[in-house]
């Protein structure tokens, strides 16, 4: 590509952006409306607080010694309410069973496992709180044993590693999701961003490709030394930039007004950039195939919202049943949101989001190919 070609491509893409941002209603759609979503879903799925205020824990204490009751005393806390029962009930939210030899094993310093069961649809967040509380209780019991037993805690740990493994709590929550449910503005801002990238790029990008064709504007551009390929790249670039601008607006607003934390800004922007590329290609494709403004807008709103809902832009995908979550994978938004959640909530690094980037890049390639194949300059 020569400098002159590049200059022409930037010129056209820049002009598309300029026309978009000078549209008065643009700021309603790109700012006011998404902020509404951010606040709504941010409050609805509050970070770290969507479980019940007090987590109930049903306990069957079959222990024949004294340590079981003692242990349960330690588990009690303002956030965890213990409901003692004699037999394992049919219905419970969370259930802990202390076996008959609980005390015996402690006294014998033998390792043992406790099972914490959770009803499938009970709050994961509450379960996580209970689990944390159990760990605390275990630690306390152990440290007390140690204090009463040998005196010096620090030295004791060095000499008796077996005590660390004295009691293990086995849970059935999927790995990595036990302690964190994405929520709050750190979830809802990326969610609205992904949703509105889809919507704005498809609407503004698609409609302008269609209008520029109908008005003969694209045809006229080719009177200049610009090639058809150059025009396509310019349109793709312009729409990609539309998506990036949408993301920047919401990220900046998020940072300033909602203390947004993306986890890793650079990798988050990389995810957004690849996602925006796929949407840019989709918008050129739609703009080439569809000849009516209403139809493009309808299609854009429909696709953007279905993809947003399925892909976890609204409620965190972590709270939906596994089947729904799997179905969400057909939504491009899923791959963007899951990658962003990995970066923010699950200490994800580049390697963790590599599969997501791969899927989004593949999607971009396929959609760009389709858009190029059906790119229509004149009616």
């Amino acid at each position: 590509m020569t400098m002159k070609t590049l200059k022409r491509i930037l010129h056209i893409a820049g002009n598309d952006l300029r026309i978009m941002v000078s549209d008065k209603v643009y700021f309603f759609w790109s700012l006011a409306f998404p902020v509404l979503f951010i606040v709504l879903f941010g409050l609805l799925y509050k970070g770290g607080g969507n479980g019940p205020a007090v987590a109930e824990l049903t306990v069957v204490n079959r222990d024949q010694g004294r340590w079981g009751a003692y242990f349960l005393e330690k588990v009690k806390s303002p956030g965890v309410e213990i409901k003692a029962v004699d037999e394992e009930p049919e219905a419970y939210n969370r259930l802990l069973v202390l076996p008959a030899d609980f005390s015996a094993k402690i006294e014998a310093r033998a390792a043992q496992s406790l099972a914490l069961k959770k009803r499938e649809d009970a709050s994961t967040e509450a379960a996580a709180r209970v689990e944390a509380r159990l760990f605390q209780a275990i630690a306390r019991v152990i440290s007390e044993l140690v204090l009463y037993g040998e005196g010096d805690l620090l030295k004791f740990w060095d000499g008796h590693p077996e005590f660390r493994e004295l009691v293990r709590v086995k849970t059935r929550f999927p790995e990595n999701t036990v302690t964190v449910v994405p929520g709050g503005f750190d979830h809802s801002i990326p969610g609205a961003t992904v949703q509105f990238i889809m919507m704005m790029v498809m609407i503004y990008g698609g409609v302008t490709v269609m209008e520029d064709r109908k008005k003969g504007v694209m045809g006229r551009m080719l009177f200049s030394p610009l090639s058809t390929g150059g025009l396509f790249q310019a349109k793709l670039l312009g729409r990609w930039a539309m998506g990036m601008i949408q993301a920047l607006i919401l990220f900046v607003v998020g940072k300033v007004f909602f203390k947004l934390d993306l986890g890793n800004v650079r990798l988050s922007l990389l995810v957004i950039a690849v996602f925006a590329l796929a949407m840019a290609a989709l918008s050129v494709f739609i703009g080439s195939l569809v000849g009516k403004e209403d139809l493009i807008i309808g299609l854009a709103v429909l696709l953007a919202n279905v993809f947003a809902a399925l892909g976890g832009c609204w409620w965190p995908i972590e709270v939906v049943p596994a089947g729904v979550r799997q179905a969400g994978m057909i939504s491009p938004a899923y791959w963007a949101m899951d990658a962003l959640h990995k970066l923010r909530f699950f200490q994800g690094d580049f390697a963790a989001i590599l599969p997501h980037l791969g899927v989004l890049l593949g999607l971009s390639a396929v959609l760009s190919g389709l858009a190029a194949r059906y790119f229509k300059i004149r009616d």
Binding site: K4, R8, H11, I12, N15, I19, S22, D23, K215, G216, V217, G219, R220, M221, L222, F223, S224, P225, L226, S227, R378
Partner: protein
Amino acid sequence: MLEIKSLTKSYGDVLALDHFSLELKKGEVLGLLGPNGAGKTTLISILAGSLRDFTGGVSFLGKDLFSDRSLKNRMGIVPQDMAFYEELNAADNLLFWGGLYDVPRADLKKRAAEILEMVELSGRSKEPVKNFSGGMKRRLNTAIGLLHKPDLLLLDEPTVGIDVQAKVSILDLIRKVGAAGTGVIFTTHQLAEVEDTCSRIAIMDRGRILAQGTLVELIRLVGEKDIVEITGEFAAAAFSEALVDLDGDGVELLSASDNQAALAVSDTDRIPKILDRLFRRKLAVTDLKIKTPNLEAVFLKLTGRSLRD
């Protein structure tokens, strides 16, 4: 400067250009006159590079037009549709469109101001184009094609559907551009436009050029004859038949359609005879006009058709 050799283009069965050839010199303003469907837009589209699958060749500034993309920098094209951004103002439109050509930015700004002056839009150059009248939009549409100072300017019906003032302004612009050395080809249906704007006129129909030359040269084709236009109530065939014995006797049938016909007469004293023949056949005449030879007569003679208004 421009040499079009035997361009042929068909759409399915329709032959839109039929071995069309034409030459144009620097500074020449050529009016391409043709009725609906003559192939004018097809020709412009091929030259503009927006139509493919044709045969024949075009050389421009000594090079093959279709193999050297940079030649497009030397060519300005004004399409029949208003193709620009309604959301932008006139000045920004010019800067955008001019920016697609290899013109330095500073020159472009200067040039845009000049052009706006030329098309009398300077006063409203900062207003969104969507507020413009049809005539103002046409002038802007034309201005866009001129921004990069092309050596060749092609305009497809630049004066369609606008008021007289805007039309005069555009034709004026075309004349000025030609006088400054740019070659111009513009298509039109309007005889009056070519009569006083062009240095050369070409009449085309069914994809070919039927005649070309200066206005005087073309008028000579009908000879020193007057044109008689007759309106009435008659069928085309009956009309032709009624006058068949006058043919060659100082009367030439230029065109005959139902209720409307045109004749070239060597002398107006033929008119009573003509009317006599028509009355005898009971063909009603409601109107009769006598005109001195003009381009319209040439056109009628060559194509047997009148131009669309």
